[in-house]
Assembly symmetry: D2
Homo-oligomer: 342 residues x 4
């Protein structure tokens, strides 16, 4: 069968080598014919000649129903950008058994890793102490730690219980923390099986010393963490924003940090790059991270391996198991998602 | 029996309330008579009147053989400072069944916690990126991460396999790291049972991306990590000094960081406070921490609870199980230990 | 919305109370109108009156395309029997966004539990020693253990890497075993992320001291473990059949046990109940289990809770997350499955 | 130094090859001179000629103070039988810095392994069902499981929190059990750090579905589990006796099993071998094990490796770390211990 199996790859906006190493490409070629289309453009003629009869397509170009209808062999369209963008007619795909896949799960581990370190950093004053030492105004020993919060045995809150949370959980586990979770899309049973407690948002905010914001943006949750929510938090709460700037009311968050009520780490900003004169750059009680939590070369290679493994399954008539498949119920909600977190 | 059991506590140089909360003191009082001696001095007369017939003594004052010989009831001397100092005649104690105890193990968890965060910080550039953002010269996303090292699946080296290493191991485990250990005092069997590999020092240095220095100072290992050892490390090695400044050749370490060959985090310095004009304060590729890794209020309270639990065992004629007991074979080697890490 | 949401439940061949306790039923009723149809029969008229407009149906009755086409509201059909039976037109469902769900995952934990105990039983001779003591011919201590195999540090093979294997893995983990996996449907990447090694079937059979057969029957694997495969196993191999009798050549398995080459535990038999005079009943080197590995009351209640949680998601327009959804690629292969393992 | 270091080994009642393989012996010989004395007798002359100047002695022969006083080099006496027997003057050793060591910890893992399997066996009816199938009177599926107890999420009680309990804990952990512990020698803090709850004996007995008896016999606890204690247990409690027959009132235990109130597994009996006509051999609700839980060849080899590793440390002037050292406070209590569990 494999001599008939056709894989079309248009890596833009990434480059082919970012995602696939030579071993990966070789593995793909053993599955069938691999057509690679570099560059940002794809003409109609190219579409007709090399895309239309592919069994698997990877790319982020437009795939309206009329194009999909011409792809008679198509079994899976893999979004290489990492989000479910509105580039494809999801309903057509669901009705016709075409999988729409994303390998965005690969970003979860590096984001979890840096989240954990940022939490301890704010709790224990790592970056702050380094800054004070460079300024020559540090304290030592117990005097340096008068405001310290340890993660061991702490109350931890997770807002969002998707891939990021699942990757963070095993890292938190040896710290013997109690974890409360708010995620309106996830049933209590799943939260409890993971050893956490499912609670309303307010309870997460009121009772947690460390709060990790891990929720993606949906039609429903834009800016849902605002002045009122920050007011619920305890003095000294450590608040970590790892997913999307749009889920918080950013000025309210910064005001809470400026006042000294909470400490904030953020990997995302409403505008990136942050304007040169943005006052956030000089804010106390904050740890600033230039959208670097997941954007690692090794992660893209892991994306390539994930995609290759799923294409291998698809080529054998089996369902993909590693990438995330778009679901009829949620595709439309996610479609409005802003630009990729990567 | 308990009405006869006598506990003498001289908390100096700490204060009583640093170590014991009210609940702890109450628990001690239920075991017997508790005599608390505040202040730094202890006269001969006071010794004769209130120390001499104690069953358990906690303090750091001088206990030569002649004094010990007068303590007919003494079962345990608990060093509240955290190290086995040369204040007591260890040989006399060993020959007469007097336990010399230290609760220094309580520092291990907070040091492990901050060590992990510092490792990820240097690997992922957390403090560095925050500094660049405050200077307005940050890069974003993949550009920010061109030198990043992730801890997941990394090669990790531990130099020293005592309390600190045992507390760090469970925190490292979910990162799926391969761990090589150098500790000449610990048998291979123990290292392997902990899921690590026991190797010579040079192999740790040559093959690890993250190297944690967790060894205490002994008569044998002062400055044992010098220019030659730093030369063995790979480009980009992340080197974390958490135990004692004296185990490394400090200038050699800083030179290796300055050259860009390695990145260094250190919680300890040859002279503390660090002199105002010490060039270490402006060094690149370093993360500076003012001896704050273990010095937490909560830790002293944990020390108090540990000591209380062991005194309870001793009062019942059972061996202590939580504090560390000085051993005949090693007491003399540790006696030269410099000032407390706390 | 919930006043319109309609849930039709026909529990046969189970009874309603087997699956749902009162708390569960109450939770279901809070989601919408719950229609319960007891008994084994469902007339066309009943179908028209109470099934046709349901949003969720639970049952195992026939649902050909013509019936499905009349169910305009239908979002999910939940098979309460535990397998994907050929009672429903899967293709119709896939094309029309109707989820076909099964809660068979609930059987995995109890089967894993008993599997582990059976493995240790055969390795250490638990049932055998009990039998010898009742016969008055036991040996003691080392003499009792001359043929013993410990699970600690053993080589373990898993044939099949689905729900059963995933539930068994955490139980095996503290025994520090090396695990080799054969499952032609599962990519190497998934096996490796679980800390196991993906190998060909022959390697599993040749190198494992404990072999767990956890694969369901498909069109492809009937009787795939036969005389040739048993001949590959080492002397003293412990062979555990937990999934389906049909995946092995049963007489070949019993012959290998009778010869003393391997030890066998089986929870399944080609004919159940086993005929009274079946020689398997007197076979040495075997541990016989009357299809009891998963059939626990508490498990059915867990099934009820899983179903309820997923119906709650569906009622809110979210995808189910707990039950297993039939997949276009594999539904036809599983459709031929024999009678339920429960 | 090693050419002067002398190791005397008298393996009786074991044989040399039971404990040491060739690799081990070679490792010992690299530490110093190894004198092996086979056979059960040791004359005074032999003692003078080959034992008296040894640095380390392994054996179980008599070592009163007068003999010890002649052993000027002696640093450690290693009991190869596995218990602290009254063969040696412990007080003399404590006063003179001679370690008395035992490698009995090696039995803990295999005992834990079989304990876990026996608990599941009684809970799920493994041995019982096998017996019924051989008798031709088995039930199937749910009918076979009407009395089943699963270990997942169960209430577990541990009586005794020494080596056995520590080896059992990690095996229980993936079953998500709640563990209550009774051990009067172990402080609450240690129990809690292990994730368990320290409670009075009666609470363990009243609230646990699975009760593991893991306590050694001391002067204080002989027969402490009697009729009154068995009466506290719930209907259907699963009671596992793994340590010593003498800690329970054996007839009371068997009566509780005979009545159907509890199910009992026992690896130990008041008289071994059990008399041919002992009614225990036909008792229902029991799982009988002929003192085989720890007596494995591989365990003795592990003992040999442990001893060798500790002798290596001792030869370098370091404290032993793997074997258990007799403690002044408890040696006299254990001295009355009955014959070895092995």
């Amino acid at each position: 069968m494999s001599h008939l199996f056709k894989i079309f790859i248009m890596p833009h906006p990434r480059s082919l080598n970012d995602v696939f190493d030579e071993q990966n490409l070789q593995a793909l070629r053993e599955l069938g014919e691999v057509i690679i289309h570099e560059g940002p453009e794809l003409t109609e003629q190219e579409f007709s000649e090399v895309v239309m009869d592919a069994h698997v397509i990877m790319g982020v170009f437009d795939m309206p129903a009329e194009r999909l209808a011409r792809c008679k062999n198509l079994r899976a369209f893999i979004n290489s950008e990492g989000n479910f963008l509105p580039n494809i007619d999801y309903d057509y795909c669901f009705r016709h058994g075409i999988r729409v896949l994303s390998a965005s799960h690969v970003f979860a581990e590096p984001v979890a890793e840096i989240s954990l370190a940022m939490a301890i950093d704010l709790g224990r004053g790592i970056t702050r102490s380094d800054r004070l030492m460079r300024q020559g105004i540090e304290s030592y020993g117990f005097a340096a730690n008068s405001e310290a919060r340890v993660l061991f045995n702490a109350d931890v809150g997770l807002v969002g219980f998707g891939d990021l949370a699942r990757s963070l959980l095993p890292l938190l586990k040896p710290f013997n923390v109690r974890i409360k979770v708010y995620d309106p899309w996830i049933p209590k049973m799943i939260v409890e099986q993971a050893g956490c407690t499912s609670v309303p948002l307010d309870e997460v905010l009121q009772t947690s010393t460390f709060i990790f914001i891990l929720a993606g943006v949906t039609a429903d949750n834009e800016g849902f963490l605002g002045e009122k929510q920050f007011a619920l938090m305890q003095q000294g709460t450590i608040f970590l924003l790892l997913s999307r700037a749009a889920v918080v009311d950013f000025p309210a968050m910064l005001a809470a940090a400026a006042s000294g009520r909470i400490r904030v780490a953020t990997d995302v900003f409403p505008v990136e790059p942050v304007p040169a004169d943005d006052p956030v750059r000089q804010l106390e009680n904050t740890l600033l991270s230039p959208h670097q939590a997941g954007a690692l070369e090794g992660v893209l290679k892991q994306m390539g391996r994930s995609i290759t493994a799923d294409i291998a399954l698809i080529s054998r008539g089996l369902p993909p198991m590693i990438c995330k498949a778009a679901q009829p119920e949620t595709a439309s909600r996610f479609r409005s998602m802003p630009v990729s977190k990567s």
